[in-house]
Amino acid sequence: MTLWMTILIASAVVLGTKLLGYLVPASVAAHPRIQRISDVLTVALLASLVVTQTVATGSVIVVDARVAALVFGAALLRIRAPFIVVVLAAAAVAAALRAMGWAA
């Protein structure tokens, strides 16, 4: 599958899900079990994506500047720093560690 096809199909699926929500009877989708599964699904996916972005390089686990950057980002989130600050600070930490040759 080409990258373009992947992007178009994935976009159609995500957009379609939103539109579907306006068609489904509220009694079905508002069921507590559906809500809980959706919450848990989102948390599990995001946690998994944090890990792959932080320590995976292809299919190898690599500990490098990204880990330090993520720890710094977590500390900023703890003190309620805004989203954009956290993202930029993490980039700055990784870039600085690499520029000084302290981490790969």
Binding site: L3, T17, V24, I84
Partner: protein, 224 residues
């Protein structure tokens, strides 16, 4: 119905939209760093228009995951939007075109701002203003980020790979403030570390998602 409730809704909408739009710059820059071209990046912001799913696409594309895994992960992350839509259905009201556009703009932020308002008119304003302002801002900043990203060269030099990790953590953070979701996140993280070296690219994220559903069902059996 007071004008102060409306003013509060407008100010919350614009504040949220400004913050989220800025963050669109990092999406644009990271997308081109992941190997997407300018238009592929822009199409995601225009049509998919859901931050978590968009970051999943570029994050998994960068690891060489197959298309089907990318589509599945993005689709699963988008499930919550469908539930927001059910919630927003009465706020939006009838009318085909209105509901189509509302559907497109049903995201974490527009729903949260609407729910935070107590009066129906303030809810409507919160939903539409947040959705519209983020749609415009997010797309403009995505384009700016994609152009900037192309000019930057090797993304690692600028720590853009770490920025992507922090972006996911930022999306996750508000959702793990109580014990049960935090435990789900921890288990999903461990499963991912264990499966990355053994499972094909793209699969670890889906295995983690499946484990999350199993945990939810088990927890439900214990506390019905």
């Amino acid at each position: 119905m007071t004008s102060s409730a409306v003013r509060a809704s407008v100010s919350m909408s614009l504040g949220v939209a400004a913050a989220v739009s800025l963050y669109g710059i990092s999406f644009g820059a990271l997308a081109v760093a992941s190997g997407l071209d300018f238009w592929q990046t822009q199409v995601l912001s225009l049509f998919m228009f859901s931050g978590g799913s968009q970051f999943a696409v570029i994050g998994l594309a960068a690891t060489g995951a197959p298309g089907l895994s990318i589509i599945t992960a993005a689709g699963l992350l988008g499930v919550r939007n469908g539930l927001y839509a059910v919630r927003m259905s009465s706020v939006v009201g009838p009318g085909l075109w209105k509901r189509l556009i509302a559907g497109h703009w049903t995201i974490d932020e527009s729903t949260s701002v609407a729910i935070a308002q107590t009066e129906p008119r303030a809810q409507r304003i919160g939903f539409w203003l947040t959705g519209a302002a983020i749609f415009v801002g997010w797309n403009a900043m995505t384009a700016a980020g994609a152009i900037l990203g192309n000019a930057l060269g090797d993304p690692r030099t600028w720590g853009l790979d770490a920025a992507a990790a922090a972006a996911f953590l930022g999306l996750l953070w508000p959702r793990i403030q109580s014990r049960q979701p935090a435990a789900v996140a921890a288990v999903a993280a461990v499963i991912t570390v264990l499966t990355v070296p053994t499972a094909p690219a793209g699969l670890p994220v889906l295995i983690a998602a499946a484990s999350g559903i199993i945990m939810a069902l088990l927890a439900e059996r214990r506390h019905p």
